[in-house]
Amino acid sequence: MFLVVDRLSHTYLTKTTAVTALDDVSLSVEKGEFVSFLGPSGCGKTTLLSIIAGLIEPTEGAVHIEGQPLWPSGTAAPVARRAVGYMLQQDYLFPWKTIEENILLGLKITNTLTADTKERALALLAEIGLAGVESYYPRQLSGGMRQRAALVRTLATDPKLLLLDEPFSALDQQTKLRLEELVWNTLRQYEKTAVLVTHDIEEAIAMSDRIFLFSPRPGRLVRTFVIPDELRCRPPLAARQHPSFPALFQSIWKEMEALESAQ
């Protein structure tokens, strides 16, 4: 197993409250797999992603990437953490840096910036359709272009596991569909393992191999949907148009509705 989440619980402590965001979550993801964490807001999916990214230490439980534990820090954790790339809801390209400086940021931080890795990052930028914008500043680019540049920034350090935190939710519909297609193709081409956090059922079906459905307050894993092969193997746009798409959408929708009414 590539990624193993083992009996993970997390509680946020503040002065007045202790809120349990995740309760006893266990799951595993295979190498090269694309999975989605689906659920309404407050189901702890972003918390889970932050824990996998090594940004938050969980209250209980463990996360292993290729057998290496993420916690406690120190030991083998840095190795495991370097394998992870994180893409945020918005691009968060640094406005004071050019696109080139932005996409090379991860390489610079991890001290892996060489002529070789730089060339690879720039080639990736061109491949993703952004050739010639290297010297531009982020404000000179459209929202879709910026999110694509952010994808290059994430991929530049060659992470084995990609964490996508609703990266399409701030885009308009057309850009979003195009970007889904691009991300799906790119990840497949480079054989990356990916975890997508979303509250969009259609997006989860179109993009993933498996969907983990979470319930809110506290966040629990309630069901796992395995996407049938005919949808799994098609790129997102084609999957959305496939005849078996609506049926799957219906069954996930019903499950989510049931969760809501149980609250």
């Binding site: 840095p78 790339g85 994180y86 945020l88 918005q90 968060y92 640094f94 406005p95 940021l105 920034r153």
Partner: protein, 269 residues
């Protein structure tokens, strides 16, 4: 030539001409205002609408200026004040930014010092003048110290809050790459706070002048502040007003230089 394009070009040329004309009118009125101010002042003094002993006159000031320039005394005073102000400005700004960075780096230090910063900020810093003179001696050093104390606390507070208000998502991006605290500071916190730091420069130009002139009032040895207080004591208001005009001119030049820096470096976003 394509006719619609030509039409647009003409329109644009007309628009630019209107803008230039407006600019000229404003410049003209600004000049008129300046000339009128000095003319009315001169006339008021000559025809004794105001007491020339108190309000002097532009011609008397010009005469004194030429006189003081030829015996080289004015240059020494101006240079002393300018140097003190520049040093006070740079030390105050750099020191404030440095303390701001330390507070960001050590959150516990920031929490501990918080009430003291509030007290120092609320206190009128010029009240420290006599103590500074006793501690540092009546001279150059204590005048610069006045320029520093008056600007350093507000710089610290502004810079520190700018550091704190940096969008945490930029730091999140860096932390997902495993960035150290120093890398976070260098790549995100400092550049994101650049506009705030530039704006403290503008405020500090004014504050440094206040500190230095007040310091010279108290030390009373040299400088334009000394000339002002000396002129006041011997009832030579021509000297007072001349010094004042020089201070106004120099501080404006300094402010414009900072504005130039802002234009050059602050617009990269």
């Amino acid at each position: 030539m394509n006719p619609p394009n030509e039409r647009i070009d003409t329109k644009h040329a007309q628009y630019l001409a209107v803008l230039r004309k407006e600019q000229r009118i404003i410049r003209l009125w600004q000049t008129v205002l300046l000339v009128a101010f000095f003319a009315v002042w001169e006339a008021a003094s000559r025809f004794h609408w105001v007491d020339p002993l108190l309000f002097s006159s532009p011609s008397a000031i010009a005469k004194l200026f030429v006189e003081k320039m030829s015996d080289h005394s004015l240059f020494a005073h101006t240079w002393a004040t300018l140097l003190e102000t520049l040093l006070g400005f740079f030390i105050g700004t750099a020191g404030g930014a440095l303390i701001g960075a330390l507070l960001w780096w050590f959150p516990r230090l920031a929490k501990t010092l918080d009430p003291y910063l509030v007290i120092f900020n609320a206190m009128p810093k010029v009240a420290l003048g006599p103590i500074l003179i006793v501690a540092l001696g009546p001279g150059f050093t204590s005048i610069i110290a006045m320029g520093v104390v008056i600007s350093i606390i507000i710089t610290t507070i502004v810079v520190y809050s700018a550091f704190k208000e940096v969008d945490p998502n930029y730091l999140k991006v860096l932390r997902t790459f495993g960035a150290t605290r120093y890398q976070c500071f260098k790549e995100a916190v400092l550049p994101a706070s650049f506009p705030a730091i530039i704006s403290t420069l503008k405020v500090n130009v004014g504050l440094a002048w206040v500190g230095v002139i007040t310091g010279e009032f108290l030390v009373s040895k040299q400088g334009l502040g000394y000339l002002i207080i000396y002129g006041f004591q011997v009832f030579n208001f021509t000297l007072v007003l001349m010094s004042l005009l020089i201070v106004a001119l120099l501080s404006t030049v300094m402010y414009q230089l900072v504005a130039l820096i802002e234009k050059k470096w602050g617009n990269r976003r």
